[in-house]
Symmetry: C2
Subunit: 362 residues, 2 copies
């Protein structure tokens, strides 16, 4: 049965991916607008289970790259990302059979649908982060041996760069430099791969999980938390749990080298009264500590919700005085292997913590 993604599904994916995006991944509103516009113009997009891919299918992931605080001011048309996919095809002399997100969060969960609609391609129901992460080497593709290059970086003026390296950390380093020079936001196609590589390395089902999370949130009449619990319980992720409730008393942010670094402090309410949670972030939430002790860290998901509406709040929208609930979701096993923790465990982000998976049930 072919699964189609239309305008309503884009709304749901954008909302659900904001939970999986753990505060980052760029403004979901931007990706949503761009994807909806493309689908309205070119029609709905097929969502393809990775199992349906042929081993030698050619899959080219597409994404926006840059600091979320910038992308709000610099709206893309969707053609920029098509340009980076076109450039990879020209480089490799091969036509893409599908595109795919490199992360599941904010703008990059919906952006590939804009590319797919414009190019008449399906989107693979999978990604390489299972959440949002700030850098291009933060990919199961990288962890499990796929080369990130050739990668194309393009901008809205028609400039493109093709990067080649045998070190995916260098891909991140060079592409980030180019992105900063392109005005802080660019469009990237990287980790071009075969259907077999997608099946071996991608985190499956994350787009449909985002869609289901978004739909559940949209339909939830009173308890958003219950809706999120129910959807996650049936996924390869752990069941969502509430980590903390309180009021934001401090937010620190700085944009540096194309990233947004900072932390938010939350004074506890009700059951958490008397305690303070600090969440540190680099684009995405990295670690949550209560009174100095970590209760959740990367790669597990830490998402801040509006305490009244249950809506997820991206890091750039965290404001003093907001009443919030902090959610934790354990990531699937493919994201928690020793090889994976080397790339995106707490220490790789400079956190003085050892990763301990969130228990399934509170």
């Amino acid at each position: 049965m072919m699964v189609e993604i239309g305008v309503e599904e884009i709304e749901d994916i954008a909302l659900g991916a904001t939970i999986l995006g753990t505060g980052g991944g760029g403004d979901p509103h931007v990706g949503k607008l761009v994807a909806k516009q493309a689908i309205e113009e070119f029609g709905p997009v097929e969502l393809l289970d990775p199992d349906e891919l042929d081993a030698d299918d050619f899959v080219v992931p597409t994404a926006q790259m840059g600091a979320p605080t910038v992308s709000v001011e610099k709206l893309p048309s969707g053609r920029e990302a098509v340009a980076s996919l076109d450039r990879i095809e020209r480089e490799l002399g091969e036509t893409a059979d599908a595109t795919m997100p490199i992360e599941c969060g904010g703008i990059n969960s919906t952006f590939p649908f804009a590319v797919a609609a414009r190019r008449g391609l399906p989107v693979v129901d999978a990604d390489g982060m299972g959440r949002a992460f700030p850098e291009l080497q933060h990919e199961t593709f990288n962890i499990y041996g796929v080369s990130g290059t050739p990668a194309a970086v393009s901008d809205e003026r028609g400039n493109t760069c093709i990067i080649e390296t045998d070190d995916n950390d260098q891909l991140e380093w060079l592409a980030r430099g180019v992105t900063v020079r392109m005005g802080g936001v660019a469009y990237v196609s990287d980790y071009p791969m075969t259907g077999r590589q997608v099946k071996e390395t991608a985190i499956p089902g994350t787009m449909s999980l985002a869609r289901d999370l978004g739909r559940a949130l949209r339909l939830a009449e009173d308890d958003a938390m219950d809706a999120i619990r129910e959807v996650t319980r049936e996924s390869i992720y752990g069941e969502a749990r509430s980590l903390f409730e309180g009021k934001i008393v401090d937010v620190q942010r700085r944009t540096e080298h194309g990233f947004v670094f900072g932390h938010v402090d939350i004074d506890g309410l009700d059951g958490d009264e008397g305690s303070t949670m600090r969440i540190e972030f680099q684009n995405e939430n990295l670690g949550a500590a209560v009174d100095g002790s970590y209760v959740a860290t990367v790669p597990d998901l830490i998402t801040v919700l509006d305490r009244e509406t249950g809506g997820p709040i991206p890091t750039e929208s965290l404001r003093y005085g907001a009443r919030v609930r902090v959610l934790g979701i354990r990531t699937p096993e493919i994201m928690r292997t020793p090889a994976a923790l080397d790339v995106w465990g707490p220490k790789s982000f400079g956190l003085e913590a050892t990763y301990e998976p969130l228990a399934d049930h509170p």
Copy 2:
């Protein structure tokens, strides 16, 4: 008659190009070492008059890019620049018939000979700056309509970037960003062009002029100034003139965005006693003013010589207390058209001056 460049000619070109390099272009010692090593290993290189090129010959210029103060610490092997030429060939599916310098100064006058020796190619006796300039759009190639891209930027780790843009200013901007990320020094092949385009846009004879200047300096027994005058008198440049003599009393330098910015102050001696000359530079010397009035500006050449030996002193070797003579050489007409002055006249570097060509005779 085929003109060959061997180890001795590389010595002369490196020395002569330091005069034409107006203080910049990178450490000539580095380019010399790399070129000599390649010629010793692979044999001498043919220096090809632009007139000998066929209209559809494929010429790929090669250069080092980066801040001169860095290149002294990071010695290239010569293979890095070959990598960028190879990458352009692969990109365009065409094999180079010759390489060529993009500037005549410091490292970049000799570096293409290392590439040429390793690849068995001739070097065209011409360049696109007629001197050294700090940026990639500072090229007669750009001024007279050649696209700078596709351009390849490579580093010593085997990373490469192919840049494509229809704006040569963007080429500079993006390649500079990549160069900074590659550690401050990279190897670039840009402005790939036909033999016809070389004939129409390059400044001819600059490699043989550098060689003749270097040889004259090497053989000059007492008066280096006389030797330089004699060689320049017979060139398409104006005859060299002495602008100032004095003692360095201040040098200010800062490395920013991959460039070395600064100025040197020289207190006059003998005929110039009581006056002070300030030379402003961005990698290369840009303008020389005596007591606040410009006496020479870009694109004309301003070169600082050791007052005793007559040897040219690059900006990174200017030291407090050194006794120096400042030389001025008017550039050829192709470098002084209104189109050229738009790109590299004094105002394009932020100098509050109007370009006035140095008179031929003092």
